[in-house]
């Protein structure tokens, strides 16, 4: 593209009074870390790269699969055929969309040992993930290093989003004190998801990022937005008075970064020679096998007794067998890769 005026491509959004040339120049100098590049993440990356952020780091551990194409807007059939990692496939598309943005794809499993490096230097962290473990890690890093971030989640026809500015708004743990235990809430694999629900949530998140990055933090949403595209509902509930929860929030008030310190979360161990990985998830309480079985029966065959639940699944032609224990631990047969096992666990058992 011959571009005599490099700002011409942004002319329509620069005409929006609150943004203007000054806001655009701030956007062009901004750095964003995107954690996860699935349904939320592809919409976020698409909007922000077109809007002209300076630098976008895209981190995702997965490969593009046929079941992604219904809602993950940057991917197409050739990415599935070529078995491309999502971060790399996204980077190829994003560079075609706007070659002036620096895109840094990282194919990695985000965890407590690497997330601080991934978020270092970011002006905003965006949640494109599909599980609460990553969201609480983002929350810890954001509060610890004073970086704004935007939460988004969607399942079925429903979604929610909130914006966190450390020291100004409630943090994720002020509003949702603890992560749901595995199996307690639906995931996109078990409960399904409609593309518009997740894309609307991501569009709200991207708007919040544009406000934050263009010097318009005063305009951010300070409430919890909850919408349902099937039931035609949209509500904003007040969360501002929860900020720090009167000194009791472990994260933003007491600065105990429990997820970053490894007090919660998932650990994996490859079981040598067995083509299996053990996924240990630290939870309080016990799993409800009857409920988990009722959710999983739509995706494969499930049996359970008092002690364990067995779940057989075929995904993209590969068979996997989950053995899930009451304490949230699972042995996943059919892979010896910890990342794959964590992905399967997050998809089907969930957080």
């Amino acid at each position: 593209m011959i571009d005599t005026n490099p700002l011409e491509r942004y002319s329509r959004q620069m005409r929006f009074p609150a943004l203007g040339k000054a806001g655009q120049e701030k956007l062009l100098a901004s750095r964003v870390t995107l954690c996860g590049c699935g349904a939320l993440g592809t919409v976020l990356a698409n909007i922000l790269v077109r809007a002209g952020v300076g630098f976008l780091r895209v981190i995702d551990r997965d490969f593009v699969e046929p079941s992604n194409l219904q809602r993950q807007v940057l991917f197409d059939e050739s990415d599935v055929t070529n078995n491309l990692p999502k971060a790399e496939a996204a980077a190829i598309k994003l560079r075609q969309i706007n070659s002036t943005v620096t895109i840094e794809p990282i194919v990695a499993d985000i965890n407590r040992t690497n997330i601080e490096d991934f978020c270092h230097g970011a002006d905003v962290i965006l949640d494109g993930s599909d599980n609460f473990e990553i969201r609480y890690l983002i929350n810890d890093v954001a509060i610890k290093h004073n970086i704004p971030w935007v939460y988004g989640g969607a399942v079925g026809s429903q979604g929610m989003t909130m914006t966190i500015i450390p020291g100004q708004t409630p943090c994720l743990r002020c509003v949702f004190e603890a992560a749901p235990a595995p199996g307690e809430t639906g995931t996109c694999e078990t409960a399904g998801v409609l593309a518009p629900a997740v894309q609307i949530v991501a569009s709200y998140q991207a708007t919040e990022a544009i406000k934050l990055l263009s010097g318009n933090a005063a305009a951010i949403n300070r409430e919890l937005v909850i919408l349902d595209v099937w039931e035609n509902t949209h509500r904003r509930v007040k969360i501002a008075p929860l900020a720090g929860r009167k000194g009791a929030c472990p994260c933003c008030a007491q600065r105990n970064f429990e997820w970053l310190d490894g007090e919660h979360g998932t650990q994996t161990t490859a079981l040598c020679g067995r083509n299996a990985v053990q996924v240990s998830h630290r939870v309080k309480g016990k799993l409800d096998f009857a409920y988990l079985a009722s959710v999983l029966k739509n995706s494969g065959t499930v049996t359970y007794n008092k002690f364990l639940l067995k779940f057989h699944l075929i995904e993209n032609g590969s068979p996997y067998e989950f053995t899930v224990f009451e304490d949230g631990r699972a042995i996943i047969k059919g892979t010896d890769e910890p990342e794959k096992a964590r992905t399967l666990y997050a998809k089907y058992v969930g957080h």
Binding site: A39, A154, P180, E184, T185, V237, H351
Partner: protein, 90 residues
Amino acid sequence: MAITIQIPPPMREQTGGKAEVVVTGATVQAALEDLIRQYPGTATKLLENGKIRPYINVFVNDEDIRYLDDMDTKLTDGVVVALIPAVAGG
């Protein structure tokens, strides 16, 4: 005194598919007890050791009960109580 409780999608299997349930009760505690009386299956979805599960927030007319009077928050006729769990997917 009629109170409407809005049921989130993951809990509707326990309410026979109903998105809203009408209960009676002068406080949030009493209203939720009536919900559980009408639909006993909601108890394990909602409570953990007798307390609301930490990822479910309760709003009375869009105000979080944690900065009102928590479970003792008084309810008046026609009030809407929303149960809102964190949404995980994405």
